[in-house]
Each structure stands twice: as C-alpha cells, then as structure tokens.
Symmetry: C2
Subunit: 336 residues, 2 copies
DNA sequence: CTGAAAGCGCTTACAG
DNA sequence: CTGAAAGCGCTTACAG
C-alpha cells in the first residue's frame, strides 16, 4: 500500500500538498493537482481512512448494537427495517455503520460504551428502551452524540429520540374495534419490561376509556413477543368463555398468529366470532387465512429519521436534541 | 477524553508503560500495573482504538456490503440470518462489523474496495455472486482477506467460500417430487444472473435426469424472487393445461406464495392437484394454508462459518483458503 | 521491568 | 499556492 509520502515523492511535491488535493477543500493549482492525481493513480494510492480519522478526530462511522443472542430479534421484521433505514441514510451521507453484538440488555450499553469510549464511531443510535436497564443514562455520561429509537425513560426526557406513536396508534385500534361493536377487548403485550409495551398498554386503556368500556384484569396479558406466548394468552384470557374477549389486539404479529392458533383449536372462528389485530405488518400477515389486520409501524422511516438527526448533530458538533413521532397505520384485512 | 499521556503523568510512569499495561502482553510489575490502573480509573481513561489501529495496522473490524436499495433484500429471511451469523462470531472473537450500503451490484465492489483500500476493515465478506459482475475479481486485486458467501465464479475457483449445497439439495427435492409420482415438474428460479439460481437449475436438471423424466423448456421459468414473479410463472407455465406441470419447485418462498395464488385463481387445489415446494423456510411458510414445504438453507451457519474462516486468516496474516458446503434440509408440510 | 525514541499515515496552522 | 513542522494517540524495537 502506498502512502501520501510515496505519492509526494513521485509527484515531486510535499506530502502536505498531496493531502490537500485529496481532502478537497484547499487551493491547489490545476497543474500540481493533475501531477498529484497522476502519481496517485500510478501508485494506486488511496488515503488511509484510519490515519485520517486519528488526525481529524472523526470516523465517519455511526454505531449500533444488536442483541444477537435473541433469536426472535432476527425473525421479526423490526430488525431488517431498522437496518434498511440506518444504511440508507448512512450511504446517502457518506457514513458507514459499525455494528456490534451484545449478549443481553445489560451488555448493550457496555458494548455501546466501548464503541464510544474507544472512539470507533462519531455517534450511536440506541434501539432498546427497557425499563429495567438504564442504557441511556450510562451512555449520556459520555458526551458523544446519541439518539434513541423509542421513547426515552422519564429521567432522560431531554435525550433526542424518534419513535412511532405507539400510544395513540394503539388507542385508535381499540376505538376501531369498539366501533365494530366489540365490548370485551383483550390486550396481549410483549415483554412488560419494554417501554413500547407499556405505551401500548396505556393506549389500550385510553381507547377503552374513550369508548366507555370496562376493562377486566384478565384481558391484559403478555406473550413476550413469541408465537407460543400468544397461544397461551388465549388460554389465560378464556377461562370463562361467557365473559371472554371478542377481540384481541396483539403487540406483534407472531403473537397474533399464536392467538389465531389458540382460537382455532377451541373452534372459535376468526373473524366470525372473534376479531384479531396484530402489529408490525410482517410479511406473513398478508398470507395468513384469514389475512391478519395489522398495525404497520414505520420502522424504516424511524431509523432513517434517527440517523439523519444523529449525523446532523455530529456535523454541527453538538448533542442531538428534539424528537419526532411517526404515524403508524392500520392495514385492514380479513381478521376483523 | 484523557490519553495515555495523562495517565502516565498521573501514575508517574512513561507513556509506554501505560500502553504496556493496556495491551496485556508485557511484563509489568504488579505495583506499577496497579498504579497505572488506578490512574486510568480516576481519569476515566480508555485507549483510543483508532490510534491503536493505525499503530498496529489492524482494525479488528470486518466489512460487509449490503445492497440497501433492493427492498426485497430486507423482506427475505436471508438478510437477518446473514447478519445474525456474522454478528455472532464477530462478537465471540472480539471483532466489529462495518456495514456499508450499495446502490446496485456494480456499486457493491466499489464500496467494498473502498473499505479495504482505505483500511477500515481487516477483511471482507462478499455475499453476492452475480454472473455479470466480477466483484470477486476486483476485490482480489487487493490482497486483503476475502471470503465469499456463495459459489465462486469459474475464474476464481481458488477463492475461499462457503455456501449451501444448492445443486445437490435441489436435485433431492426434484427426486422427492418424482418419487411422489410427479412427472411434469417445473423450476421457478429467481434472477437468472445470480449464480445460486444457476446452481439450482443444474440440480433441477440433474434430478429430472436421475428420475428419467423429460424436461419441457416452458417448465423452466424465472420469477426474480418476487411474489408477483411466481404468480406470472404460473401463467407462463400453464398455457396448455394438458401438459402443465403437476409440481413446482420455487427458488424462494415468496415466489412459491405467488405460485400458490396463481394456482388458486385457476381453481387448482394444492396439494390435491399440484404440489409445491419453496426455498428458505421463511417465517410465513409455516403459517400458510396449506403449510408450505420448503427447503431450509442454513444461512446463519453459513455466515458464521465464513466469518470464522475470515478471522482465522486475518489472524494468521494470510489469505483465507478452502471452502465449505453446508447441507440444506427439506421441511415437509402440507403443500406436497 | 521501564524509559526514550521513532513510527503508524494522515491534517492543518503558520509562514512565505 | 506550497513547504516545513508539529500533532492526532497509540505501539514497539532497542537499551539498560
């Protein structure tokens, strides 16, 4: 690999001149620029990005940590959409994405911290907001740019974030079901320790209140985002068939599929006897029978917006601020 | 951010001593080690990875390029499985993954080249093998470690690669269908310019030959990996219902779903009148009705094996060599 | 076991 | 517009 020095020798200029023609912003006479470019071509020179990073203290890289140990993480459509959004704007703005694994939620901020502390990235996007782990707090102590995908915990209300309108969107789904005549509506959340699930629960309660409906405690259940969790939720919510829900809202499609299976086993027809709405509009939703109505969450757009916000802040040299709420939309199919 | 210098001052040692305690492999008296560690803790010091990379000429990072402009890429289960495999072993071996986008197959090697030429990664895994773009050739001119996920093109037979047994696995599926009594079997490939699709076609031809079956040219069709492509393939393969296929093998599940839709519209029952096998065992396969039999390709394991191979070579300071063929397995459901 | 020095390959303020 | 120098923050061969 040739260096700036080799090129300088070949072109008979000072290394700093070579640097100037490659960094773009500098006054260089056309003649020497050509000479340098020619020499660089001959020597197959490309500036070493690591050396440049060290010198300018900027890596043109943003970091993200993925909990690679959770199989479900890769089965859900959240992950690919997240990556698509991140990559799309990184590409557009000339950045690269540095991805690290982590073996649990505790480890997430350890890994993120490591990327930041060792200066491997100029900023980081954080994707998990758990109520039980203060990832955001840990990360903020470094004052490296950070943006959160999801709602921030109460004690960090001023961190920059972008998320879907989880609470409102869920409320609307409940109102929609109520309008269809349902009075006993169940909420099947994912992991109760994740903040999305809590927001959706609030939306559910809002919607029920809005529609003037009572809520029975047994209509609120958690399936931990798994197909089997949805299946079990059916069991738990239908101990007493007389007062059992006539509609289910599930916080992801996988659980909705489990609910569908549970209902079917009990000989309950969907949508004839019970209605069902999922979340995320995953690829399978359209191909089920009945087609699963699902709340489509714009994860790709969310990730893209977060990345823009992060890079804006990096380039201005400040901490990102403000937030953005993107709208989800209900895709109606046959399950209601 | 404090540097090695600050810590040295605080601990009253030479900066090189601080470096030694952090790089691990060096004889350091326990007393000074403690003093340095203590100083580092007080100053909240972490070694700058970029500076280290420049010095040791190693980044502990491997690169991969993702064609982020193709929507279908993020809908298929290939992508998340690929990422899972890469991340899993990167994590295990202390590496990070540097991901870049690319806006087409031509751009893929441009981006990959850029990562390598600018020394942002110690090696790279290449995922697309197109017959029309010589990505591998371009990349090999740099002698940075490279491993290919997929079969190499003929002119680069000696590059390191790992892939599924596409040809054999497809042949087995055809033989299986033949055993079930099918004599007119169709092959619906993806993009004819991708090498997987060609390998599967060979497997199809092998299988038909093995079973002593004739092949009609119109039974070979291409759906470009899209649902609609599968749908159209039904149209093109059934101009003459009398000699139309009684079984279809599709190179991904999305096309199989399209085929299912096409057959249904023509009032053809699956599996009653026509059998169907897809590929990739995507999450929807299990939830269709009839459940879709599908060839499960171990992409996660393939990516993991490729990453190990790459990192092994990087750490030995040589070019990776050899290859690995992982077995696919047919998941039987109701569509046959 | 520890120090002093040179080097990794760039960038950029300072002169001219 | 171009050169000479110092610096980004580490590592490591060489002495002792």
């Amino acid at each position: 690999m040739s260096t700036i020095r080799d090129v300088a020798a070949q072109a008979e200029v000072h290394p700093s001149t070579v640097s100037r023609v490659f960094s773009g912003n500098a006054q260089i006479s056309e003649a020497t620029r050509q000479r340098v470019l020619e020499a660089a071509r001959e020597l197959n020179f490309q500036p070493n990005a690591i050396a440049r990073s060290l010198s300018v203290r900027r890596t043109k890289t943003i970091g993200v940590i993925v909990p690679h140990v959770f199989d479900g993480y890769f089965a859900d459509s959240f992950f690919p959409q997240l990556m698509a959004g991140l990559l799309e704007v990184c590409y557009e703005r000339g950045y690269r994405l540095l991805v690290g694994g982590c073996d649990g939620y505790q480890d997430e901020h350890i890994q993120a911290l490591d990327i930041l502390a060792t200066r491997q990235a100029d900023g980081i996007v954080v994707t998990s907001s758990r109520l039980d782990v203060d990832t955001v707090g840990e990360l903020r102590r470094h004052n490296t740019p950070l943006v959160l995908i999801g709602h921030p915990p109460a004690q960090h209300a001023d961190v920059a974030w972008v998320d879907a309108d989880n609470r409102t969107a869920t409320r609307r789904v409940i109102e929609y079901l109520a309008q269809k005549g349902h009075r006993r509506i169940a909420y099947v959340g994912g992991d109760p320790d994740s903040s999305v699930v809590k927001e959706r629960l609030e939306g559910y309660l809002d919607g029920m209140a809005q529609a003037g409906l009572d809520v029975q405690p047994e209509w609120i259940d958690y399936g931990y985002f798994a197909e089997d969790g949805g299946y079990q939720a059916v069991e738990r919510t239908r101990r007493d068939e007389a007062s059992a829900p006539t509609a289910y809202y599930a916080a992801n499609d996988l659980m909705a599929i489990g609910i569908l299976r549970g209902l079917r086993e009990r000989g309950i027809d969907v949508p004839g006897q019970v209605s069902l709405v999922g979340t995320n509009d995953s690829p399978e939703a359209a191909h089920l029978s009945p087609g699963l109505s699902s709340l489509r969450v714009p994860y790709r757009a969310i990730a893209a917006a977060a990345t823009h916000r992060l890079i804006d802040a990096i380039e201005k040299g400040e901490q990102p601020a403000g937030h953005e709420l993107l709208e989800s939309c209900l895709i109606e199919r046959e399950s209601v």
